[in-house]
């Protein structure tokens, strides 16, 4: 999200250039809204989903 051109070159080279141009603007807007929030996350905060391990069947 930080640099869609570099990310696409590394992870999604099949995205055509014209599509990349089209999606850069909404991704940049999302980046602007999202990035400042990341700096405010307290260190110990867990994600909103967590792995729950069920006991083995018959245990």
């Amino acid at each position: 999200m930080k640099n869609p051109q570099q990310a696409a070159a590394a992870f999604a080279p099949d995205i055509p250039a014209e599509q990349l141009a089209r999606i850069e603007t909404p991704l940049a807007a999302l980046e602007a809204a999202f990035r400042p929030l990341v700096g405010r996350i307290p260190h110990e905060t867990e994600p909103a989903y967590l792995l729950a391990v069920a006991p083995e069947a018959g245990a």
Partner: protein, 472 residues
């Protein structure tokens, strides 16, 4: 006619399920060419099912209020032996070997399945302008979108092509079509209704719920749909309630929050008038109206978009090489999701927890929130921008602005009609409640519905360009 009214006629033997089903099928035959609400109509099996349910009733066995009621489901719910497309070319020939939990529960309750409903491709958008199966049209004005992604569900219920239609809601996809089509739409609490057997758009934002003609019908539907399902990892064991509100329309003792920030910014003036009018009605019914400050919903929306883009891109990763099989709008979203870093996705889920905790503090002050559902009435098909207060806004982002965040938080939310625009299109309000307190928002919604006449104005089938006026 609502489910409650039809059930009374069925109980009194004044009509049979076969007759109700035939009436719906006749209306579908007459109107679906205009509306494109149904992708698949199950005429023979529906009539057979209705006759069997009539025989069962004649033997004195009635399963409940949905016994013999014709319903339909969005084409995202798997139906055993019946094509389930997800509105996508990828699944154009997909015939599941099992039913979704929702379909199982509806059938066990005696509902008659009329067919499968049209939707936005892959449930990833709000127009239901589907490049593979055609545009679903709004019954109030066929030049307008019905909303989405459960657009066929909204159009079918609004135009009496089913008594109940199931939808799915990842960022507003039940409530937006309810708002644009003038129906009721309920997004239950996360985990309240099983997602088993639903073709997923996403893993942590998808919710299943009903669109109906009345709030009480939505409550009847939830009575059937709610409950734990071990086949859905997110399914809750929280006890199920009786969700049908008492007949009393008093709201005495209920504290309804009206947000001072975010929700009432950038609205079509008719929407603001409609929702503030509902707040006055609520006060007249005895509710305490409380002005509240809500947490940063714009931030919650951004968090939701990072999560949805990432998870939806993961869901479609095995198919993304078939680029020509996707419509341009959904392909652009899938491509955006592929460029989001794993660290951003995980941090979005951490932020989600923080905002859930912050939002839950609100529930010390109020029992529910009353907000607009969509900031405008239904846009026209093909329209890409909305103008409000001199500012232009993308149609998709504007239409999801007031609803998306609630999927991130997990709270239940109810869309109800709150009036009409000057050109006769329905307007929608939203009631948001505490987790697993669907009974509270249904009580509030039923009382407001009873005190107003917005739901009693169905579109007239022969004049879809209708402007206002009281219907049958």
């Amino acid at each position: 006619m609502t489910i409650e009214e039809a059930a009374r006629l069925l109980d009194a033997r004044q009509i049979s399920s076969a007759e109700l089903t035939r009436q719906c099928l006749d209306r579908i035959a007459r109107l679906n060419g205009k509306l494109n609400a149904y992708l698949t109509v199950l005429e023979d099996s529906a009539l057979g099912q209705a006759r069997r349910l009539d025989e069962e009733r004649a033997r004195g066995s009635v399963r409940g209020p949905l016994h013999g009621i014709p319903v339909a489901v969005k084409d995202v719910f798997c139906t055993k032996g019946v094509r389930t497309t997800c509105g996508s070319k990828l699944f154009a020939d997909h015939v599941p070997d099992h039913d979704a939990a929702v379909v199982e529960r509806l059938e066990a309750a005696g509902a008659v399945l009329l067919g499968k409903l049209g939707m936005h491709e892959m449930a990833y958008g709000i127009t239901s302008n589907n490049p593979h199966f055609g545009a679903v049209r709004n019954p109030w004005n066929t030049d307008c979108i019905p909303g989405g992604s459960s657009g066929g569900s909204g159009a079918a219920v609004a135009s009496d092509l089913a008594y109940l239609a199931m939808g799915s809601d990842t960022g507003g996809s039940i409530r937006i079509p309810a708002s644009f089509c003038g129906t009721v739409g309920l997004k239950p609490t996360t985990g309240r209704v099983s997602r088993y057997g639903v073709l997923p758009l996403d893993f942590t934002l998808d919710h299943m719920g009903p669109l109906t003609r009345s709030v009480r019908d939505a409550a009847l539907a939830l009575n059937v749909l709610a409950g734990h399902d071990p086949r859905d990892a997110s399914s809750s064991r929280q006890p199920v309630k009786d969700y049908l509100p008492a007949e009393s329309s008093s709201l005495r003792g209920l504290r309804i929050g009206v947000p001072e920030n975010f929700f009432y910014d950038r609205l079509d003036p008719a929407v603001e008038r409609g929702v503030r009018g509902l707040a006055r009605v609520a006060a007249d019914l005895g509710a305490e109206i409380v002005s509240v400050q809500v947490p940063d919903i714009a931030a919650i929306n951004a968090i939701g978009r990072v999560i949805l883009l990432s998870e939806a891109a993961a869901v479609t990763a095995p198919y993304i090489h078939r680029r020509g099989d996707f419509g341009a709008d959904v392909l652009a979203l899938f491509d955006q999701g592929r460029l989001i870093a794993a660290t951003d996705y995980i941090n979005a889920q951490r932020l989600r927890r923080l905002y859930q905790q912050e939002f839950r503090k609100l529930w010390r002050q109020v029992d529910c929130l009353l907000t607009p559902c969509t900031p405008t009435p239904a846009p026209r098909i093909g329209q890409t921008e909305l103008e409000m207060g001199g500012n232009k806004e993308d149609v998709r982002l504007a239409s999801t602005r007031l609803v998306r965040g609630i999927n991130v938080l997990g709270e239940p939310a109810l869309a109800i009609p709150c009036g009409f625009s000057d050109d006769g299109l329905p307007l929608g309000a939203q009631i948001i409640g505490r987790p697993f307190e669907e009974d509270v928002i249904l009580r509030a919604g039923a009382a407001l519905e009873e005190a107003t006449d917005f739901r009693r104005r169905p579109p007239e089938e022969d004049s879809p360009q209708r402007r206002g006026g009281r219907g049958d």
